[in-house]
Amino acid sequence: MKPQKNKWWQAIKIILGLAVLSFILSIIISMFIEDDFDGLDGNVAVIDITGTILADEDVDFLFEDVTSSDDIIELIKKADRNNEIKAIVFKINSPGGSAVASEEIANEIKKTNKTTVAWIREIGTSGAYWIASASDHVIANRMSITGSIGVIASYLGFSGFISDHNVTYERLVSGNLKDMGSPFKEMTQEERILFQKSLDSIHDYFVEEVAKNRNLKRRDVEKIATGQFFIGAEAKELGLVDELGGREEVITYVEEKIGEEADFTSYETKKGFFESLGKIFNENSFYIGKGIGNSLFAKAKLKESVSIST
């Protein structure tokens, strides 16, 4: 047996050692927690949908704003799990993007039982409008750009360019349509028809979803689903938007719905160094086509084929 005095010294040393260990552990854990429990103080979660909407989580452009559907879905689920959160506000400033990503987000919004509000700021067109339409209430500024219900899959063809530069495209395919949409060869009539058919089908889904979400007649939506964009005031008249306004109107609507004072809290995914750097250089696009172009460029880079964007 060790002398009692000696034992107490050893006991103090062990306690201090364990306290240091738990201090280190708590620092490591708090790093995780910041990501998992962002902004738990409020009762209204604000989720930003900014830039081009894409499905791939890893797709990033250094100087462009990109929203991944995976991230947004995760944030919606997180807000949904938190009992303190009574409403979710989607702050939209996006020209749209991938049809798949837009539908994924819209479906997740419809799943939640909490009050959802889409707040369109400068731009909320195409896929971004699809997302907005899935919310309980859509608020836009009278000058916001919205609508643009349509699908696009245009791309740059390089077949003329490469032949001018004496470069040949060696076509090696086992299926006749395997390289359909390749920018290095001219599109055939058959391919064009097939492409158009697919686009029309997606356009149909889009129209159907907007009509269902906004409680509008399908033929009314079809009339405006020409890809044309509308400013907020026009969109209100067409029934695409419920209310004209901004932050104040969002607060008033939410407070009325939840029956208590709204306390906004931002739900966001932590960004890496390069993404944060990109944000500094980013300029918000005025052009509807910019988002579509980025989406196509991203997809073409990733899959080396044509993509369909809303």
Binding site: A11, L18, L21, F32, E84
Partner: protein, 181 residues
């Protein structure tokens, strides 16, 4: 039960009588530890762990739990029970608590609580092994089926010869009390 209690009382009276009769020639003997002293030692250990060792976790806890009120905190923790972060916090705190018991019992055969009441961990074999110490403390693991030991251990303790918990029977260890006679 009553028989066991009377027996342990008898041992205590015998020891005290021997101390009274022969105060100068004190000899150390180890006998069965009293349940009450063990409970008090455990309470002191848990208090030490909570107030000193797990103190840094308090900052993390305050960061995630929205309110100080117990009911609100409970509601929050129940609704976020599946959160990875909460699981990580609970597991880390439990691992540190288990390490407290394992390290103390390996190095000193006593925890601070046991030191105050002159209680020691005694093994049945030659030396106290780490696996034995982990089994002794596995009831602190907040996972099924270990949580059942919170109920089973005290019950078994009341009905065994040396007041052994089930975890102690499995680890082939027991807690003894030091007497100077």
């Amino acid at each position: 039960m009553l028989n066991k209690y009377a027996k342990s009382k008898q041992i205590n009276i015998k020891v005290r009588f021997m101390q009274f009769m022969n105060p100068a020639n004190k000899k150390i003997i180890f006998a069965q530890a009293s349940v009450l002293k063990r409970a008090a030692a455990f309470a002191i250990d848990i208090l030490t762990v909570n107030l000193i060792i797990l103190f840094p976790f308090d900052t993390v806890y305050r960061k995630i739990v929205p309110s100080d009120s117990f009911s609100e905190a409970f509601r929050f923790l129940s609704s976020n029970a599946n959160s990875t972060s909460i699981r990580i916090i609970i597991m880390s705190a439990s691992i540190v608590t288990i390490l407290y018991f394992v390290i103390f019992e390996k190095k000193l055969r006593q925890t601070p609580g046991k030191m105050l009441f002159r209680l020691y961990v005694k093994e049945e074999g030659k030396d106290l092994k780490y696996w034995q110490l982990f089994i002794r403390s596995m009831f602190l693991m907040p996972l099924f089926p270990f949580v059942l030991l919170w109920i089973i251990d005290p019950i078994v303790m009341l009905f065994t010869k040396d007041n052994q918990r089930l975890s102690e029977i499995l680890s082939r260890t027991k807690v003894v009390e030091e007497y100077k006679v």
